[in-house]
């Protein structure tokens, strides 16, 4: 960050600004914070209600903020305003019908929700997912990670006041949603991941379009970095604000870019690879201080890494089936229904009743864009799950907000909420 002495001070007005002495104001605030003397009005604590409808909250998050002048002394998040009872609804549906329901939890990372759930069911059913399907899954997962980070960047920049970044990020996200529409027919909540593989193979032309996007995305990410990293307001608001060390984060259960920004390189894609992630060569961006700027920089760098992963996956995409050949779990391809009686019976059973899953409990963690996203599925042997629980990363990360914001200004709290990347759909489920 350029200090004020390096910045061009062409006009007298700027020079005058440097002569303002703020030490007395700082002292006053310090005194009030310590509580030693000062006027009564400085010692009074004010509880302010942010939300649930507020332009700076990401979704319907309500914060009860206890303030002393402008310093946050305590913070209580109140959630539940978009609680949809998804886990309860999932108990009512057969296993493959749960996929669209569970996708709508963390509504920016729908492929990740589906992956966690589908991975858990595959563990229970012990079905082998073919490599082509795994590579396709990786492609879609990383594209979704980029899309999620783009919305995060857009809305965070919007909160900080940089409105144009919001529109740029939406422009890129439109390209990604076009790709999703090409492969599955839907822009969001695509129901593309199924138990045993993916719903359909990618159409011809998909690979070319993805490569076009991959050529464009790093340049655009460079643009965003260039705009934001040289904007002094953004830097002043993000650098040094609300840091939190890795030890506290770990005790709060926080994972993902927040933990990596604090210096701990924990990433399930590298530590405990699933879905062929060990076939790809990518780095994990790690921060140093753990303040808002590191959180921003880590997520921006992750976009480049995801681009790398997608391009490697496209290069190495193997031929083969796009879903498991076990007809007791995956639907047979439609052309078989005309010729094979067995395929017809399998199709019928799968669509009406669904496949039965042996009883047991499974916890399947994956690395989502916000941290460890895991799905716990308990099966009692029937064709409907007995319990589906998503360990959502935003839900656990939200507990860290209080620790991050205590002792800092309200404006920093707004920036921190943006950098925390809470998705209320995942928090409330």
């Amino acid at each position: 960050m350029t200090s004020s002495t390096d910045a061009p001070t062409a006009s007298d007005y700027r020079q005058g600004e440097q002569n303002i002495d703020l030490t007395s104001v700082h002292e006053q605030i310090e005194r009030a914070a310590v509580g030693a003397g000062g006027d009564d009005e400085h010692e009074e604590l004010l509880t302010l209600n942010f939300g649930p409808h507020h332009p700076a909250t990401h979704g319907v998050l309500r914060l009860l903020v206890t303030l002393q002048a402008e310093i946050v002394r305590d913070l209580k998040p109140v959630i539940g305003y978009v609680h949809t009872g998804i886990e309860k609804t999932a108990e009512d549906k057969s296993y493959w019908k749960v996929i669209p329901v569970v996708e709508r939890m963390d509504y920016l990372s729908y492929y990740f929700n589906a992956m966690a759930y589908v991975g858990a069911v595959e563990k229970l059913v012990e079905v082998e997912v073919p490599t082509r399907a795994q590579y396709l899954r990786v492609i879609h997962l990383e594209l979704n990670r980029i899309a999620s980070h783009l919305i995060w960047l857009g809305t965070s920049a919007l909160d900080l006041g940089a409105v144009s970044i919001f529109l740029y990020c939406l422009r890129e996200r439109e390209l990604i949603l076009d790709l999703f529409e090409m492969s599955s027919g839907q822009r969001m909540h695509t129901r593309y991941f199924q138990v045993g593989g993916v719903a359909e193979d990618i159409p011809p032309g998909f690979e070319a379009k993805v490569r076009e996007f991959l050529k464009v995305m790093p340049e655009r990410a460079d643009e965003y970095g260039a705009i934001l990293n040289s904007n002094e307001i953004v830097l002043q608001r993000l650098r040094g604000t609300c840091p939190l060390d890795a030890h506290t984060l770990l005790s709060l259960g926080v994972t993902g870019p927040l933990l990596r920004a604090a210096g701990n390189p924990w990433d399930l894609r590298k530590a405990d690879p699933y879905c062929c992630y060990d076939h790809f060569d990518f780095k994990i961006p790690v921060g140093t201080v753990g303040d808002n700027y590191d959180r921003f920089a880590v997520r921006l760098a992750e976009i480049y890494e995801s681009v790398k992963i997608v391009s490697q996956a496209l290069d190495g995409l193997p031929e083969g089936p796009y879903t498991t050949t076990d007809r007791k779990v995956a639907l047979p391809p439609r052309h078989e229904l005309a010729t094979s009686m067995e395929a017809l019976i399998h199709h019928f059973k799968l669509v009406t009743e669904g496949f039965r899953v042996p009883p047991g409990e499974v916890y399947n963690p994956i690395e989502g864009p916000r941290g460890e996203l895991a799905c716990y599925v308990r099966s009692d042997g029937s064709s409907k799950p007995a319990r589906v629980h998503m360990r959502d990363s935003s839900f656990v990360n939200l507990q860290a907000l209080r620790h991050m914001c205590q002792g800092s200004y309200i404006a920093d709290m707004i920036a921190t909420t943006a950098m925390l990347d809470p998705i209320l759909g995942g928090i409330d489920r």
Binding site: G59, V60, T84, G85, R104, Y107, L170, L177, H189
Partner: protein, 270 residues
């Protein structure tokens, strides 16, 4: 309270001149289908002919005539202009609940630009907004808050229920959600899960047409929401102009959407 679409039969004000012929011609055509006061057309009004099978005089006079002119002539064009202005400059409330909010962002994004239509000024405060787009699922904890937001909006205000979750119960028909119709009047429901940004625009265009045709389209009677106005009703029970004779459709012929969740996805065909 149906707003008439009559071009303006200039009768007692005696508007002569070049325009009057077309005006009268248009008036006859328009009046024939819209005039509710006594099933009269302008010809009968002008000539004072008798209505068939009725013992009422077929023409208006005195105070009735003045009121008729006041409604149809002076204010209709003004109302139409105001309606045109309102419909082209909705100020949506920046309000997103869940996944549909993402598609709402895209509707405001660069590809499908809501600013082309004049609606890019998303206001943060409900006091400055006149269109609330319920984008996402409404949980029972959030419903009273949305109702309060809606009440804080100033008249005239419209509501679009975007997506399947707030229109009907959507994918999740369970204890935690409530359809938007149950606690607030909704003008347009946009189906989809989530609806494409183009679908949202289609819904907003329908609302725009609705506003241009019929700004106060009697929704308060339909949803039993009388008493929600900011301006109190006058003694006669009528808030605006055409009180009697607006036979139209009786409230019970249109099933109240709050009684049939999921059955009315789009209740108005403009």
């Amino acid at each position: 309270m149906k707003r008439e679409r009559v071009g303006g039969p200039g009768t007692s004000t005696g508007n002569g001149g070049p325009g009057s012929a077309s005006r009268t011609g248009g008036a006859v055509a328009g009046a024939g289908k819209d005039l509710r006061v006594r099933e009269l057309n302008a010809h009968q009004l002008l000539r004072g002919a008798e209505m068939e099978g009725s013992n009422q005089p077929a023409h208006l006079e005195g105070e009735e005539l003045e009121r008729y002119v006041h409604e149809r002539v002076l204010l209709t064009t003004l109302d139409k202009t105001v309606a045109w202005a309102r419909s082209n400059s909705f100020f949506p409330l920046g309000f997103g609940l869940a996944c549909c909010a993402m598609e709402q962002f895209h509707a405001a994004g660069p590809r499908l630009d809501i600013a082309r239509f004049g609606f890019e000024a998303f206001r943060a405060s409900p006091r400055q907004a006149d269109l609330i787009i319920l984008a996402g699922r409404v949980s029972i904890k959030m419903a009273p808050i949305i109702r309060r937001l809606y009440d804080q909006m100033l008249e005239p205000k419209w509501a679009i229920s975007m997506g399947a979750c707030c229109s009907s119960m959507g994918v999740f028909n369970n204890y935690a959600l409530v359809p938007a119709d149950k606690f607030m009047p909704v003008d347009v429901h946009v189906p989809g899960c989530p609806p494409r940004p183009e679908a949202l625009m289609h819904g907003i265009m329908k609302l725009r047409k609705l506003v241009q045709d019929d700004p106060d389209a009697g929704w308060r009677e339909r949803y039993d929401a009388v008493g929600t106005e900011e301006h109190p009703l006058d003694a006669g029970g009528a808030q605006t102009f055409a009180g009697e004779g607006q036979a139209g459709r009786a409230p019970r012929d249109i099933p109240s959407p709050s009684a049939i969740p999921g059955a009315s996805l789009e209740k108005r065909d403009a």
